[in-house]
Point group: C2
Chain length 595, copies 2
């Protein structure tokens, strides 16, 4: 039987002196000072020092057995520490407990790594023993932050009349974009459910049902090829509203995020958030999720150099490419060796063919790496366009679009990080708007929806839908925080005919559309309100709030980069009997016998 504690390990203070208390917790550290045993007793609330003196021999002997990570209960009396022993680093540092009784609930072997912050242990071993990793204060604090996060988000939406609705996890497979996880049905032989990539269609149906405002914090699933920062299951804040325009959703999202920043990490951010069109973001930062915590905006030299005698420039521009520059402040003195090394890295990490530069320093004046091919006035015009000043370094890439934008975007980030241009303490929110509705896929020889097929085109661009679809802007918006896309949404199509036209444009034939999305098209027959919404990535937002850089540090039991949980060894082979019941077999060459 566990002793019912009177206090946790983080709350006793000088005002409790003399009280009889019961504490439970883990042995964090143990010191034996000439017969008196001091133990730091730990629970998730804090640490309290407990003391076994030699008055009670039997108790002292029992205490001698104690080792790190033993779980114990103690009864004792709160004692004020002597002034010289006060520990200002501990909330409970003014007191200690003189132990009268000890109960050992559980012994502990030596843990495979230390239970403390900032350990060097590799992630592989940490994930294998995740239950111990979760004992470490930094990971534990991330989880508590996450718990607070949930409550704040939900309280915002609940207060604003959003109805929380649980949508199904076992749903229809509608492959589009990422791959579905499938679930074979036992009672419907040969048929499969899919796990939701998002509850998109359900939340739209809820609008058709008149729920007006819906939210849910919900698990979603994507069976993607694994990249550094992806998890097969992830969590999103899912929101949908009826009778709204873009402004309403952005405003509500800003209010929610502002409350969230304040209540979880005590930060003030001021809505409205900055906004930028997709075009402007691409032109200025080469990405639709720019990190606006620092400058290094692109200067476009294409117009200046299109007739230059330097073929690399002029040919690039004439073939539809671009010549772009960024100005790195204070790096005008960079030496030849450093620039060469940078050039190599740029080639390797961005895929650019080469790096051109203009250095501005007192010694050399304005020095361009290809000055023998360029008129001096051209170089001067470039310097002016780049707003470079004495002491700065202008880095230039030339190449076909859109590649050169992506390359320059990477170079910009590289320079931002390397020269400490990023205000690590800042939280820069940015709305990116006016996305193209569709893009042409050379690979599939058809149009893809940039967001998803339910996104509404802009009314004023509807005329171009047939003849020039890539010029049609959508009513979509992404929310970017510090260079991470943390959310995206749109005003949806609520008109059956427009939705059908959209499916057609995406190469989804009438029959296929009915087969896959018939229920939504049917629903639009019976009175659908204008509606729109947003989905925000919970894992990523918490990662940023926690100041971390791995999603795995803010998920209690994450998968590794092979989509495996090494702790419980999943996924794993299953019995043939289980497969038989599900009416499936493994393909030849696959399975435990082939190990």
């Amino acid at each position: 039987m566990a002793w019912r504690r009177t206090h946790n390990c983080g709350e006793l203070g000088i005002e409790n002196t003399g009280e009889e208390v019961v504490l439970n917790g883990w042995v964090d550290t143990r010191r034996d000072l000439g017969g008196v045993i001091f133990i730091d007793l730990r629970d998730r609330y804090g640490i309290t020092q407990i003391v076994f003196n030699e008055v009670d021999k039997k108790l002292h002997e029992k205490a001698e057995q104690l080792r790190t990570e033993y779980v114990i209960g103690i009864k004792g009396v709160v004692d004020k520490r002597d002034d010289e022993n006060v520990n200002p680093d501990l909330d409970t540092g003014d007191i200690e407990i003189i132990v009268k009784e000890l109960e050992i609930y559980s012994k502990a072997e030596t843990t495979p790594f230390e239970i403390k912050e900032d350990i060097e242990t590799g992630e592989e071993i940490r994930l294998k023993y995740r239950y111990l990793d979760l004992r470490r204060p930094d990971i534990q604090q991330n989880m508590i932050l996450r718990s607070d996060f949930y409550q704040t988000v939900r309280s915002y939406y609940h207060q604003h009349n959003f109805v929380e609705v649980e949508t199904p996890v076992l749903m229809k497979s509608t492959p589009e974009g990422a791959r579905d996880y499938l679930v074979p049905s036992r009672v419907n032989a040969g048929k499969f459910f899919a796990l939701p990539q998002s509850p998109q269609t359900y939340k739209q149906l809820l609008m058709v049902s008149g729920f007006d405002r819906y939210f849910q914090i919900v698990k979603c699933f994507r069976d993607e090829d694994l990249r550094a920062d992806r998890q097969p299951e992830f969590t999103q804040i899912d929101v949908e509203m009826s009778f709204v325009n873009e402004e309403d959703i952005m405003e509500s999202t800003e209010q929610m995020m502002t409350k969230l920043m304040k209540e979880t990490i005590g930060r003030d951010v001021a809505p409205p958030f900055e906004r930028m069109t997709y075009k402007e973001a691409m032109k200025t930062y080469g990405t639709d999720k720019p990190d606006t915590r620092f400058g290094l905006e692109f200067a476009d030299f294409s117009e200046l150099v299109k007739d230059s005698e330097f073929n690399i420039f002029s040919n690039t521009v004439q073939e539809g490419g671009a010549v772009l520059g960024i100005t790195v402040p204070g790096q005008g003195e960079m030496g030849r060796g450093a620039i060469d090394r940078l050039t190599e890295r740029v080639k390797e990490e961005t895929g650019a063919g080469g790096l051109i530069y203009i250095k501005l320093n007192e010694e050399d004046g304005v020095k361009c790496s290809v000055e023998k091919f360029l008129k001096e006035e051209t170089v001067d015009a470039m310097v002016q366009k780049a707003e470079a000043e004495m002491g700065d370094l202008v880095l230039i890439l030339a190449g076909p679009a859109p590649d050169v934008y992506t390359q320059m975007s990477k170079l910009r980030l590289m320079m931002g990080k390397e020269h400490n241009l990023i205000d690590e303490d800042a939280f820069n929110f940015l709305w990116v708007t006016d996305f193209p509705l569709v893009e042409w896929s050379r690979e599939d020889q058809r149009y893809h929806a940039l967001h998803h097929p339910f996104t509404s085109p802009k009314q004023e661009d509807l005329g171009k839908l047939d003849d020039d679809p890539t010029e049609v802007r959508s009513r979509a918006y992404d929310l970017v925080l510090n260079g991470y896309e943390i959310g995206g949404g749109s005003i949806r199509i609520h008109d059956r005919e427009l939705q059908k036209r959209m499916f057609e444009l995406l190469g989804i034939g009438a029959e296929e559309a009915q087969e896959r999305f018939g229920f939504l098209l049917d629903a639009f027959k019976y009175g659908a309100p204008p509606h729109g919404g947003i989905a925000l990535g919970v894992d990523r937002i918490i990662m940023i709030l926690a100041g971390g850089n791995s999603l795995r540090d803010v998920i209690a039991f994450p998968k590794n980069q092979k989509a495996q949980s090494t702790m419980d060894n999943s996924p794993d082979y299953v019995d043939q009997e289980q497969l038989d019941e599900l009416h499936i077999r493994l393909k030849r060459g696959v399975g435990p016998e082939e190990k």
Copy 2:
């Protein structure tokens, strides 16, 4: 573009008279009274009457197009209704809106059933058009109740320092009891994840990690053969606490439920809830989830009749069976025909071999259906034991245990309902405790855990674990509300050796235990606190709070009794390509070609 509404359809009143307003909503009803068109405009907040008079011809013509379920926006002016037109049934019944502008967002075909409460439409058609069914006020109110329910539950646990942690949906398959849903892994060929039947092992690991108090409202999955009131995916409130005993968890659950009853449906319930041991529940009600809103407790006549000359009684008792009775008040006048019909129904619905009775009425005195085989004093003793009074009817079943208890339990419920003995307005909570740890399965020829293999035996019964395991009581408890099991939990095993012993007792060998639950056994090596918890069935609780009798009425998008969603036709066949990627094939004779 949607008009930004100034108000919803449930909030305007006399104090708004003269204001210009914008409303959006659905056309609920439409009346054309000599040229003036009245429309009840509906949204989820209420109904407001809007009026199109003939002043503006064009507007009036547009309004003539309107039909039920059209979605519209209007701009107009709030007008006080004449006294004789005030509608006291509507919150907005004092006013109407004189419309100045009309926007039709969406037209509507005739819906397959009416959008109103208490329709006669069969469930099949309602589920097919669930998005319309969800428009009906009664279902919509259930969903709003559900949303409030979530917030109340979470606010309780959050206020009491529980950390909300999301546990994985893609986990290891550990078949035990119900069947797992499996999810084939694409990147780990031939291997499968399982969907959680409960996050049991994860929440125990969180206790080992020191989270101290955990909660989550979480989806769980069971691929069971379908019974009337089951869903393949269901939601539970999942709770775990460290350093606690049964009392702590029961107390915290009672506090939460009390808050919940008050805040969602305004009902006061008074903790502590009634308690009853498993043995007592079985003896008194023949079930471990008795509906205690009415009496009809069992009288056990076995001792009285064990030596009776009536063989059916004496043989039954001598063979270890029981003779049980219940006293139905005021039914002592039941006629022969009615009793014969009842007997037939009892045989059919409970499986009992026959029904014996004692009627007590003024005309016949005490009349037993088998009195020729029984001594008068025996009948009198039975009447006394059953506490039957003049005017009552004692119904008696005899048979082997435990079947006769189950049969009598069904008969008790039948009588309770039929004779209106159940207080439909009551909410009777009951803890059932002291469950057996294991039961012997004749079918499998091994012991089964009555709850699950992680349930702790009672300390004082540990001695019987080897020799008499079915006599060992566990530290489990179920929470019962009005005859429904709404939750269950236990103090868990936190000792590695005891857990191993438990696996052994359940016929899970050391190797298999390590294979399936090795991570938990390993975790117990490194300092595990005493811990326990509970899981509560969200769907069922809300069903009871909503006064309904189908889980499907409190789940937004439920599956039907074949585990299908007819709305979106899931589960469904998938492309061969998708199966190929997942390294699986359908078994021969299964699949779309074989249709």
